[in-house]
Structures are given as C-alpha cells and as structure tokens.
Amino acid sequence: MHIEIDEISKQFGTTAALHPVSLSLPSGALVALLGPSGSGKTTLLRILGGLEFPTSGRVLFDGQDATGLSVQERRAGFVFQSYALFRHMTVFDNIAYGLNARPRASRPTRAEIARRVTKLLELIQLPDIGARYPSQLSGGQRQRVALARALAIEPRMLLLDEPFGALDAKVRKELRQGLRDIHDTTGLTTVFVTHDQDEAMELADLVVVMSGSSSGGRIEQIGKPQDIRARPATPFVRDFISA
C-alpha cells in the first residue's frame, strides 16, 4: 500500500514534536525512519498507526484520506518497542488475539484461526512454541512473536518501533535478516523506527533521516542508503551517519 504523509505536524500541549513533514512511501517499500531521540520519528510512526492524531495535516493510504480512521480501522500491524505481548496469554492466544477480537460475523472459525496461527509460527521459524507464555521466551523469540501477532490481522502495512532496540548485538543481526525475509515474503509496506544508522542502511530500501529541534522534528533527507552515504544533504546528516 502506498502511504502519503501530507504536511503532518504534532504538538503535545505547548511542545512541538513534529514540524510539518511530508513524505511519500511507495507500495511494498521497506523504510527506515532514522534519527536521534527527540526527532519525532516515533511520533510519526504512531500517527501512521492511529495511536496519535496529528495537530494538522493528512495521512493518505493509496490516495484515500485515512487521517480520521480510528486505530482499529487502520489495520496497521504495529510492533512495539517493548513488544507489549499479553503475558497472561499463550503465544498461540497472543497471535490469535486480533482474529478473536473481530466481530462474530467476520471472525474466522476456530479451525481457520488455528491454521493461520500455525502458519505464522512457521513463518517466524518457531513452530513449537504455541503453548508457551511470553515469560518463557527469549528476547528474540518475543520479538518474532510480536511480529507474528501483528501479521495475523492481515495488516495493510507493518509498523515497527525500534524493533531491535531491546536485543543484544548477535540476536540483532539474525533478526534483521528475519525482518527482511518476512518483508519480502509478505510484500507489505514496512516502516521501522531506529536510531542505529547501520541498521537503517543495511536493512532499508529507503531511509528517512530526521532531526529534532525546539520547533519539532523535521526531515533532513530522504533517499536510498547508498545515496545518503554518498551525498549527505545537510551537515546534520553527514555528522549523524558518520557517528
């Protein structure tokens, strides 16, 4: 799905989080929102997911105005930094949650839900953990379960907030490839937030470099990783990617 961000700004009370920003994300792209903390990248991601509402501006999905869509109507697969797994539910129930939450008329049958969950567990290469609770999983496994849970609702896009932030260096490398594979399999437009420029450069097709200031976060440069490396548009980008 093609995502269009049109002059979006966000204020929390009197603090500006986002200076009006515009951005066009082609369908099926794997996009990194890269920037230091305070650059508004997470706010932008949450606006896409319907968890925050912009102070001004519009969000368009495939040309349709989606600004007023509630979070439930957006069908954005969202992976939280802390994963936010439901700790009182098994992995199976966590992944099935979105399907079970549908109104009765559009809810798949039990067998169909079980079939889909099993398929997703295979997709994340953890076929045998359905009966476990989140507390019995490693950090990397939790991240993949959160991903599977987000995919279960057949989302229109995949949004990930610092998906590798809580993991150690070795697991991080493995899961980067995992996310790339899932993106390529599903073909979903995928946006992830990171402050790690290696991660952004290695994984994404398109990198959006953001910076923060007292008037809110703004976009410094949009481009392919190699272009940003070769031709940083501003001194900020040059400093940030060489850090």
């Binding site: 997911g49 069908r75 969202f78 439901f86 009182h88 949650y97 979105g98 939450a101 507390s135 609702i153």
Partner: protein
C-alpha cells in the same frame, strides 16, 4: 552440611530484635490462639461437633459466610471500578474520593454500626425511602449485607490500584492496533491482568467480613436463625460462662476462614504460575 538456621551477619541487634519479636508474638498472638486450640482439644472433637451441630449454630455460620461472600463479591466489582476511576481519570474531587476509600479502616466499627442503623432503620434517611417501596433494610439480612460491604470496601481498591498504575500503555495500544474495541481490550487484556490482585483484595475483604462484629450487631436485629451472626453466638456463650461452647464455635470459625484463605491462596499460586510472574 545443613545450612545454618540463621546466617552469620555483621548486623548488630540479632539477639534483641529476635527476642522482642518472638516474645511479644508469643504472648500477644500465639499463646492465646494456642489456648483456644488447647481448649478445643480438651473438649474433644465430639464435643465440638455436638456444639456446632445445632440448627442455631449452623444457621449463624451459614449466614455469616454467605453474606460475607456476597459482600466481598460486591466489593470485588465496585472496588475494581473505583480503582480504575481513581487511577485513570482526572476529575474534581478525586483526592477526596481517594481518601474516603480508607474511611472504613479509620472509622471505629461501633460508630459505623450505629450510624448505618440510623440511616437504614425504618425512620432513617435511606430506610424511609426503602420503606416507600416496601423494602426493609435494617434488622434484616440486607442490613448485615450493607454493614459488611462497608467494612470490606477498601480492600479490593487498595490492592488493585498499584497494579493499574503499572499497566503499560503499550499493551492496551497493541490490543487496539490488532482491531480490538475498547470493551474487548478491557475484558480480555486488562481484567485478566488485574485478576490476581483483585482476588487478594477479595480474600482480605471476605476474611474481614466473616469475623466482623461491631458494625453488624446494631443493624442486624440479632434474631436467632434469621439475622444472628456467628461472632455474636460466641459472645452469647461467653456471657453464660459457657467457655467450651464458645471455644467450639471459635474453632469452627477459625478453621473455615483458614480453609477459605488456603483455597484462595492456591488459586493465586496457580494463576501466577500460569501467567508466569512471581
């Protein structure tokens, strides 16, 4: 080699603090409870059974436990609601409401007892309103229920409040992004997270209500077989210097409340193990 009972520690005051703790605990709590159990032992199981196995005693015990259960269930629902409102919403009067939750802890039970009676008696403020629709509250089981709700009110709210404060917003947001309505999120995500703490509060409220005396006797009417609670029977036996019978009823109450607490603790251990945090 066995681990020592008390590990060596550089901290001073082991002898003194242990001595004071164990001595006072023994004199004030353990020996008196021991005396009750000893009395029961010398009276013998058949004696206890004969005392308890009378219609008046059974109906008093049944009344006490049944109404305590209802009151604790009411407090379970209302207490969770109250905790949610106090933690999540900002509105004028919130601090006063929060402080008022503790009033049943601070207000002496006898004061609560006569005051509730004054309100719910047929000529009282609420009693008159109820009488209009032919509903009698004071001197019936309804009156006992209200007194027991009053004394158990704070427990669930106070155990659940800190848990609500610690719920991560992201978990609720995750539920919403997966398409769940707010009601679905409350029912399937938030309530299960509150359940262990709510159950603890429920158990505390129940234990308190079963033993409650002061706030109940004024409003109860104390009619044998109808509105006579178990603690009152102990008092009646004592006033007749019938110590064996008093001890028998006391032991029965003690055993039933411990059994209830044990069951609830087991449920909790089970649910904690299942959810996986200890």
């Amino acid at each position: 080699m066995r681990a020592p009972l008390i590990h060596r520690s550089p901290m001073p005051g082991l002898g003194l603090s242990m001595g004071v703790t164990l001595t006072m605990l023994s004199i004030v709590v353990l020996l008196p409870i021991g005396a009750l159990l000893l009395k029961g032992a010398t009276y013998g199981l058949p004696g206890i059974w004969d005392t308890v196995n009378r219609e008046r005693v059974w109906s008093a015990l049944f009344l006490s436990f049944r109404l305590s259960l209802f009151a604790a269930l009411f407090n379970l629902v209302f207490g969770v609601l109250l905790a949610w409102v106090l933690v999540r919403y900002r509105f004028p009067g919130r601090r006063i409401l929060d402080a008022a939750v503790d009033l049943p802890f601070a207000l002496p039970t006898a004061v609560a007892g006569i005051s509730l009676t004054a309100l719910y008696a047929p000529n009282g403020f609420f009693g008159q309103m109820a009488a209009e629709i032919g509903w009698k509250i004071a001197y019936t089981q309804w009156g006992i229920f209200i007194a027991l709700v009053f004394v158990g009110l704070p427990f669930v709210t106070r155990t659940v409040q800190p848990v609500i404060e610690e719920i991560e917003r992201e978990v609720e947001e995750a539920s919403a992004t997966l398409g769940a309505t707010r009601l679905h999120t409350l029912r399937h995500v938030i309530l299960p997270m509150l359940a262990p703490a709510a159950l603890t509060g429920f158990a505390l409220a129940l234990a308190r209500a079963v033993g409650e005396y002061g706030s109940v006797i004024f409003i109860a009417g104390n009619i044998p077989l109808v509105t006579e609670i178990a603690p009152l029977l102990i008092i009646i036996q004592l006033e007749e210097f019938n110590y064996d019978a008093a001890a028998a009823i006391g032991i029965a109450m003690l055993l039933i409340s411990f059994a209830m607490l044990l069951v609830i603790n087991l449920i909790q251990v089970w649910s904690r193990r299942r959810i996986g945090y200890v």
